[in-house]
Subunit: 201 residues, 4 copies
DNA sequence: TATGAATGAGTCTTCATTCAT
DNA sequence: CATGAATGAAGACTCATTCAT
């Protein structure tokens, strides 16, 4: 159960490299990212990179993989744990905003990838879709229970993802003040207004 | 006033190069885009590129410049021409969707740039912002006229831009069927539901 | 029919590169050969190599290909043109010795390859074998005509190739004086003594 | 006189490394041979190599040294022990063929070196030459005793070495069947035929 | 003006060697 | 002694840019 000293160092190195790679790839994209720079940022020699990753491509994928897996999992956890639809929407927007604040670089990379994800039907594209589809399912259910207006659930779920993404981007650009909670509240309120049934006359 | 044959050829070349560059940069990004490939796609020799553009960077900027200018202008025209707020929103989403369908490559590039635009406060960032702000102004006015709920106009305008962008992306991925008009109608309806005042009891 | 100036330059470059590559690969072998060095030796920039050859491997193969093809062809021509067996043997040894003197580097490379040729049954291995087998056929014929002793033709043909190779190597090492003609005469005499029928008693 | 356990282990290691190095260098040549691979093949860690050999070069030389010394010694022993010239020639070819079969890798390496040996007048070149010169001396003697035709002894001795080498190579390539004894008999017979005096008429 | 061959700076990758454990 | 992680020099290859024709 206990990790050897070796393993601890290796784990630390690995994650230092991933951090450095995330930063550099976010700055310059995949093609523009320079391994020398990543090594320097990670505080190791260039050759050491190759002890941990087979090459540039694998390193890039490792970053995406790790971060998307994390984002997907934390989003799913929070959304599924929420009881009501409104809470689920709030949870979705909040966890994304928090993630965006904490890991700006990753969000940059993911944004760059958005299109590529579209093209090649990779595992990543599933990881992006899955949380949105949980939201969609909750919406569909709420519709069928007559809780909200009759809206196309999947479309709406993607709309939620879209406005959340936009909000994160503007925060990353520094063009948005306020806490993530306030932002999440606003977004949830906006969406909810669009879903709510008009009060009976 | 009349263009010489020289000028006609030059204009034609220039735009052939821009088209080729748009295609290639969309496929591979800026760093990954190869001038050889662009020249080939444009049907000219590599050296000729340098007669029309100072270098890779300038060529890239020229593409962005041209296309963003166009997009900005057509969006402004249509939004400003619309009379009511609902019509303005419909106009915004529609013109964007049309553009997205017609010029997928440019949209891919713009998506990649979104972040960079954020960082360097360039002219582009203004061109992205301007149409959104026209929308925001219209929303603010509608609020002050009591036509719609009291919402933060700028935030809502960006939300509209965000869901439109998402819709375009999903269309480009082939994950969305239907005409652009239907899509625009849906988006407008969704937003409008969020803005509408509850009918008085 | 006439070559353009471009083609002349290209041909010249190509053969300058081949010459440089032959020299360098002979000095250091394939793995040890440095492209930078080849480029310098050829008087061109490193990048230019890649305009003429796809990469290190292809360049190496091009050298082998060109030189083995030449050696094979000139050996075949001279051997086949000779009338008697003795003349064929003399022709074989002479043409090889001449080639060895003229193109020492190539002989070094071919020697290094000898083993590889053995392993992978490539085209090269055929090119090495073919001239030897012409010799073998002539020997077999002479045997059947009762002109020489009854010897295993193919073995003897290879023996001739072997002693010729050895002679060339020692010449390249500078350990052998005399003209190639004298050397050829000696070798032919040696072999012929082994083949000759004892004069009838 | 007795070896300590330490020394026994060290000797064992050393020879395991030499075996591994022989295999790898034979496969890939000096420049292409990878120390990692040698270490793995020898079942030790890469760093351990440096406890036994100063570096790649020294390791390579150690292989050559050991194997050439052995080959030289066994050839000299057998050739010098033989009584008549014909027996000496038979001994030479046989011991070489046996060695070639038993240690193919070394023969590959020696073949690669042949040329380098030529260039740098090293100790190796003496080790190659010495056995051949014993043969040459025996030939010269036989000539002076009138036992065989008047031939240039040194040349003939090298010819014998050459055809033996060629025979080994073809055996290593699998292109030759039969026992080493048969091969040796054939070679000896061939050479002897070239040396024999024509029976008086 | 148009061309495309030539250039060489910039990158990725490998691997001999070192050294802390 | 033994290990194998870390290093960085060296080398293959790419591609933006230049320039002679």
């Amino acid at each position: 159960m206990k990790k050897t000293k070796q393993e601890i160092v290796a784990d630390y190195r690995r994650s230092a490299i991933l951090d450095a790679a995330r930063t550099v790839f976010a700055r310059r994209g995949f093609a523009g990212g320079i391994l020398d720079e990543i090594a320097q940022e990670a505080g190791i020699a260039k050759g050491t990179l190759y002890l941990y990753f087979k090459g540039k491509e694998e390193l890039y994928k490792a970053v995406l993989d790790h971060d998307m897996r994390t984002l997907r999992q934390s989003t799913l956890n929070r959304v599924d744990a929420a009881a009501t639809l409104r809470e689920k929407i709030a949870a979705f927007t909040l966890v994304r905003l928090q993630n965006g604040d904490a890991r700006r670089e990753f969000f940059r990379i993911m944004d760059q990838e958005q299109q590529n994800l579209t093209m090649t039907r990779t595992q990543y594209s599933d990881w992006v879709r899955e949380p949105v589809e949980h939201l969609a399912a909750a919406i569909a259910e709420a519709v069928s229970r007559g809780e909200i207006r009759d809206v196309p659930a999947e479309k709406v779920a993607w709309n939620i993802a879209d406005i959340t993404r936009g909000a994160i981007q503007r925060r990353l650009m520094g063009r948005s003040s306020g806490t993530v909670e306030e932002e999440s509240d606003y977004l949830t309120g906006f969406v909810w207004a669009a879903l709510e049934k008009s009060p009976a006359p």
